[in-house]
Symmetry: C2
Subunit: 300 residues, 2 copies
């Protein structure tokens, strides 16, 4: 893999993407609007390699650049990680589309905005898409590829190919939808979890135990649909025959947006680890995610 | 752990419970209404130990009995795994309550029925609860403990203690709710997944990849609530402040019971592994769950 990549916006997500591309062999050209962010990059990337057990020699492929135009020079893929504000995104994409050579794909890490919102009206809107990672992408491989109505199929094909080449797992969508797939699944599960805790039926720890020592063990191996495919002798159709009505009844009774009340925050904060521990526990989470990723590779 | 246990109903779940109790040191007394099931038990248990890497010597603690009364003799915990039919459950519990000594706890593996439905009116209703496992419990440790309004707090305390002693992870609920916790969480996530596949926005494989290579990696380590607690610098309250409105909007737009249509079954069956492979893939799943369980123990 030697596709040259530009990473535009070098916060946490931009740096993690840099590791993804560099370890796969791509030359990676970095730019950030804040010069102090750009200056601190080499040290931060070395620390990330250290923590994730990546060979720091991969960073020889990484260069930093004083302007967006210079970073884009020769790049065939742009991974943009700017702020999730529509006016800023629009300004960035107008600039990217003007400066990048016509065959270059422009991919946004956006989670809150869909690309039609910032690609509309641009000459190169056919080469713009969202490539939404899970943070941090160098330890969690899934990437949602979401087109706008203007994104060309060729752009989607090239995006899917590149993501596989850099050893991520692309999930290709066919149309824009608010929240893509991942956050839609997360939202419904959170709503029901919050309601169960708010009602006092179970503690926050009880909800988390149900996932980490139960449901999520199957989902991390099989996903939710392959899981039910194995939960009835005749596969998924048999499952839906047997359990569909029960699952439908439970869904009909499930919590919705009203579960995200300010009141539930206090109840959760009372038992979850304190904010002062967030940094330490996030570092442990990333170490554990790396170990989990390595473990999962041993299974197939 | 030497609490004597009776396992009533020796299908797949009853046998897996037998391994759980026996490997923790409990004498386990088995009974099943079908004599041919009981006869085949020793061979099946040896095969399960083999597959799960358990020492077959634990089976020295397991005995089979010709009558329910004999199996109950001396047991302090009964794990019942009968069919999920209300009239059968009622008949079993009337019998169990009549035969078991008064200090014995009667726990049902039921997933579809709550215990008030079959404990109502019985003299010993205070000692009856649901202890709902994930199949198979010897490789997936979570157990939902759900009381009826009549279940005594002492019964719940003893149930929680015993489950910890046999190295399962009890999730203690305070009240009956349809589907308990696990199937409620599963139902909402399935509904949204089915709708996304039905609409053609993403394939079944795409939904499963989003979970196994993304969301579920965090959930299997942290659960859903500890996950969001680390997704904002100020912890869960900060997270709900920042992302609560988005998550509420996504939940409000989520699919419900209507997603469980017969039509979606054909679409799923077209891409998921064929029913002929269910047995083979289930065996692989259980091997992988065992390996995952061992891996997760190395993390903390």
């Amino acid at each position: 893999m030697t596709t040259p990549v530009a990473v535009i916006g070098c916060g946490l997500i931009g740096r993690a993407w840099t590791i993804v591309f560099a370890r796969a062999g791509c030359p990676v050209r970095l730019w950030d609007a804040a010069p102090e962010v750009l200056e601190s990059i080499p040290g931060r990337l070395r620390a990330m390699c250290d923590e994730a057990g990546e060979d720091p020699a991969i960073l020889d492929r990484v260069t930093t650049h004083a302007s967006m135009a210079e970073a884009l020079d020769g790049a065939l893929w742009v991974q943009e990680n700017g702020p999730e504000k529509l006016d800023i995104k629009r300004a960035i994409y107008a600039e990217l589309d003007r400066l990048a050579s016509p065959e270059t794909i422009l991919a946004s890490s956006s989670s809150a905005l869909v690309s039609s919102q910032f690609a509309e009206g641009l000459a190169g809107r056919g080469r713009i898409l969202v490539a939404h990672p899970v943070n941090p992408p160098h330890v969690v491989p899934v990437v949602e590829l979401c087109p706008s109505p203007d994104t060309t199929p060729e752009t989607m094909d090239r995006a899917e190919t590149l993501m596989r080449e850099v050893r991520q797992v692309p999930v290709r969508m066919t149309a824009e939808i608010d929240g893509f797939v991942l956050n839609r699944l997360q939202a419904v599960l959170l709503a029901e979890s919050l309601r169960l805790v708010e009602s006092g039926i179970v503690t926050a720890e009880g909800v988390d135990d149900t996932l980490r020592h139960g449901l999520a063990r199957r989902w991390v191996l099989l996903g939710a649909l392959e899981t039910i495919n194995l939960n009835a002798p005749g596969g998924v159709a048999d499952y839906l025959d047997r359990y569909g009505p029960t699952m439908a009844r439970l869904s009909d009774g499930a919590a919705r947006g009203e579960a995200f009340t300010p009141g539930v925050a206090a109840k959760l904060a009372a038992t979850l680890p304190a904010p002062a521990r967030v940094a330490e526990l996030s570092a442990k989470r990333d170490r554990d995610l790396t170990a989990l990723s390595n473990f999962l590779k041993t299974l197939s």
